[in-house]
Symmetry: C2
Subunit: 242 residues, 2 copies
Amino acid sequence: MTAASSSIPDKLADFKVGVDTVIFSVDTEQNRLLVLLVMRHEDPYSDYWSLPGALVREGESLEATADRVLTEKIHVNNLYLEQLFTFGGPQRDPREAQNAYNVRYLSVSYFALVRYEDTALIADGVSGIAWYPLNRVPELAFDHNEILAYGYRRLRNKLEYSPVAFDVLPDTFTLSDVYQLYATVLGEDFSDYSNFRTRLLKLRILQDTGVKTSRGAGRPASLYRFDAEAFKPLKDKPMVFL
Amino acid sequence: MTAASSSIPDKLADFKVGVDTVIFSVDTEQNRLLVLLVMRHEDPYSDYWSLPGALVREGESLEATADRVLTEKIHVNNLYLEQLFTFGGPQRDPREAQNAYNVRYLSVSYFALVRYEDTALIADGVSGIAWYPLNRVPELAFDHNEILAYGYRRLRNKLEYSPVAFDVLPDTFTLSDVYQLYATVLGEDFSDYSNFRTRLLKLRILQDTGVKTSRGAGRPASLYRFDAEAFKPLKDKPMVFL
DNA sequence: GCAAAAGTGTTCCGACTACACCCATGC
DNA sequence: GCATGGGTGTAGTCGGAACACTTTTGC
């Protein structure tokens, strides 16, 4: 880490480190992008919605803390987890001012994408917890609106440049499932369906299982499976998905 | 990196926060990409090269700490500074084990790009400090090789998707100056010079000053100036530079 | 003249766009 | 049949890759 400069008269700051997670999910029924929020019940920002978070415990890695936040709030089967950004300016947390020991709070934010169908909110009766459609998110505690905005930017990028989508889709899925997911996150006007389809298949990372599925009216669709092996050579190559 | 053992009580960890900076520079004379390293003189990792860093002081923001590291080591005129990643697993720093109070060290890494010509290393006589060509970097202290690798990835991305290059170039420059910079960072085979030239001019973000400059043999080149106004509308748009 | 560096133009080809159109199902 | 959603094909266009060629300097 750091070379402790030999001449430091200035006092070093003491920190508690928090992990705030931006947890996204896609409601494929209603085509909405959701984000998980929890209601605060303590000062500061009591009665404000906020991103789920926790303070890092002894012996616990940052990522483990993020995992703990997730499992405390939802039962997660499959997900994608990635570090976002670290906010650490002094005075970003009002607790610092009130604190006699002058402890600072640092926030390492993580961004997660989970399967909506496989998650069950843990209703503990007391603390409110809810999926919010992204466009209806209220004013949040701390600088959480800022963190959320940054997380959303990152989600869109991830979707365009990496196959995260298949982490959140079921094992087998139709091509319009994929399209719906992309359209929900990126906006309706991101691409024509048939062109999207062509480009996606040209990547040769999807296997046609041959199985057809019929959902109401219309021609039955083929079920596809993500081929992790076929994707490997493309890993870390410059590539665009959409 | 999940280390939360269940036997540990739920005590919160106490942290000191360090800022480690990956400082890049381009030696346009010799077409080399350089990174700034400092020699450590204390345990742990005494006599190892490491990234310049410092611990965050009371009342000091993370970015201010990064700035302090820069000004302590070099006189900087123009630069680009951006947060990279936060490394915070337990046991990444050997000092943690020796420490009776069980204080953990978190490292927030920053990445900077500075003008080689405008910087002067502060030779304090004691601690070694040097520009290393990227391909000759030795084994570094802590996980600094990892941080450096990540910083290099980010530098290449920045160059391709944003006009950082013009932050490090002089006010006026020739088109091959720009090309040299890109080629040095991205590798010789990233593009043909004339195609690079065409694409760059098509962006219409460079003004031809009309002034010619002659450097030895060959036809004199036009000096261009970066037009920040013309770039504004392109800001945050999806665009590729190279 | 020749070498060296700057600057221009041209051809080829693949990718993306915008559609039109065919196919298989429920009702 | 017809509406609905799945799936295929095609013509036009844009932009990048490769490379030949011209221009202006130093020597």
